[in-house]
Chain length 349, copies 2
């Protein structure tokens, strides 16, 4: 009875043990060889202990249920996105080879430089570890408070507003005036801006003087230019490593072009990563992320959390037939090291 029920309306995400084994064997082999895989190679694979004929009939079922597809009648089977999804969901987590583990540890003990440099190099590391294109996103400073603002005069009508945030980021904005600002006014404005803004975040609105003298105008301009940043981007930074891997890893020229043109648009990449994280996923396969040009891709994302707060994410972009276990392990390990590196005690020297 239970069996019957299971057969007529099979829970879509729960295959019986044999189907699961076969599906996993198909996916694993296809990831390995990039070829459609036939019944006999599955039958001969380690975990499967039935004849090719049996495998075939199971494959028909798996195809009917949408896990596999056949490029053409007399070819083997290829996993669908749904097939990959099942595979990934039932993946036991792996670890990196000890050589790779060493490489990561070595990297993080030796790396020096400013945050941006470290993230840039990290993205290169991650890409080299996996031979996929990597993405490192640092969180914006919408929640960081302002440690210091300073107005520096370039010339009478052009000032530079330099803002330092508690997360260590530094942002500059041009502040231009239609009148000549004298040195005294600029430093007075700078002083008042400090008093006004230190300790606030970009989300705080502050009371600006409404007077029309030079100092007040400078202050108003500065605050408005600083707060104007908000809508477009949040100060996230994106570092892309190994974009040349795109050409190695994807087949058609057209796919390569599409993927590259997505990677060119940093804002899009940030949004993509954020979207995936918001969906609570760590892997988005094929069209799961909703970016049509990336429908041939799988994207792996691992959040970087420092002291419980989201501080960014690392990601990997490869073909749907990517080596999920290794890639997940690499992304996970790097994100942890990154968190530790920028987290507590570490001396960034």
């Amino acid at each position: 009875m239970a069996r019957r029920a299971a057969k007529t309306s099979p829970s879509p995400s729960d295959l019986d043990a044999r189907k699961a084994t076969i599906l996993e064997a198909v996916v694993a082999e296809h990831i390995d060889t990039a070829q459609p895989v036939g019944s006999s190679s599955v039958a001969h694979s380690a975990d499967v202990d039935v004849s090719p004929a049996t495998v075939r009939s199971e494959m028909v079922a798996l195809e009917r249920e949408g896990y596999l597809a056949q490029p053409h009648t007399s070819a083997g089977r290829v996993p669908t996105d749904k097939g990959y999804r099942y595979f990934v969901d039932h993946l036991k987590s792996g670890v990196l080879s000890s050589a790779q583990q060493y490489q990561v540890r070595d990297f993080f003990t030796n790396v020096r430089g400013e945050v941006e440099d470290v993230l840039e190099k990290t993205s290169t590391l991650l890409s080299e570890l996996t031979s996929y294109t990597s993405v490192v996103v640092s969180a914006g400073h919408s929640h960081a408070s302002i440690l210091s603002v300073q107005l520096v005069s370039l010339d009478a009508r052009h000032q530079l507003l330099v803002t330092v945030f508690s997360d260590g980021s530094v942002v500059k904005h041009s502040v231009n005036t239609t009148f000549d600002a004298n040195f005294v006014d600029v430093s007075e404005a700078s002083r008042q801006l400090n008093a006004l803004l230190i300790g606030t975040t970009l989300e705080h609105r502050v009371q600006v003087p409404s007077r029309s003298d030079g100092v007040a105008t400078l202050i108003r301009e500065s605050v408005s230019v600083l707060h104007a940043e908000q809508p477009t981007t949040d100060g996230e930074q994106v570092f892309i490593g190994g974009s040349s891997k795109v050409a190695e890893v994807f087949a058609g020229v057209e796919t390569v072009r599409k993927v590259l043109s997505i990677l060119e648009q940093e804002l899009l990449v940030v949004t993509l990563v954020q979207d995936i994280l918001n969906q609570g996923l760590s892997v988005a396969i094929g069209s799961e992320h909703g970016y049509e040009p990336l429908s041939a891709c799988a994207v792996i994302v691992a959040p970087v959390t420092i002291d419980g707060a989201p501080a960014g994410a690392v990601g990997l972009l490869g073909p749907t037939r990517m080596k999920y276990r290794e890639a997940l392990a690499a992304a996970g390990m790097v994100s942890q090291h990154l968190a530790r590196h920028f987290g507590g005690e570490d001396d960034l020297a």
Copy 2:
């Protein structure tokens, strides 16, 4: 007699008029069609007024002299790098279509934002104008003087040194100490650093206090970390636009990969551009720039000069059979607009 001499030892860079015309016709057509070009299409082209047979015999000569090559016996001719070089050297300068001119002007009248944003967008513009990958390099600040330095405390042992240069660039450096620095020391160090460094360039060496108290240590650390920047990079920034064009424009996957992996290394790109400029070239064809992985490429460079001083460069990277006239015109026009934009009166608002 003179004729005889010209025949036995022809000046390699000076072809007789007919050869020149034929060579130019071959190059022009090959750029257009990407196919080997045969004698008859050359003979029928506008500027040539001889029979295919005559063209053939001239082509034999041009091949012997290294301007043309034959992929195989029964194919037409293809220009060699030397052929392209001749073509480029004898190119009369062109102008952009008026629609493109409008696009450039429109861009520069409407563009807003920080210098970096403008350069980033400019590289996209240039790439869209030409459908080649573009490069925008801004000069380093080795000759810019320091307008302001400020030490901001992140926590007791981590300070941030924020330096503003006269060219409007802002640089941050971490300054870490092995002792807890108190707030007063940090602001005192900041004050003294200002007195010490304002008006100097990174090439100036300054006298630092040798005392061992906190303030002096902070100052020493700050100065050393600031001056340490020099050797690796000079603060140049690179903006690459349209890297996806690489996939459109080059044939083999392997070429695409090679080119992309060069573009990944920003330092390399800066050096490449600088090298070409130093050679006094505006176009480097094939192996002229000495970067083997780019031997299938031509690189166009146009310096950006502001008030007589080099302020950077714009470049284009395409296949050796790129549309030189249009690309040169675009690079030239953009570099001029860039110079004007950041030059005198313009309000960057």
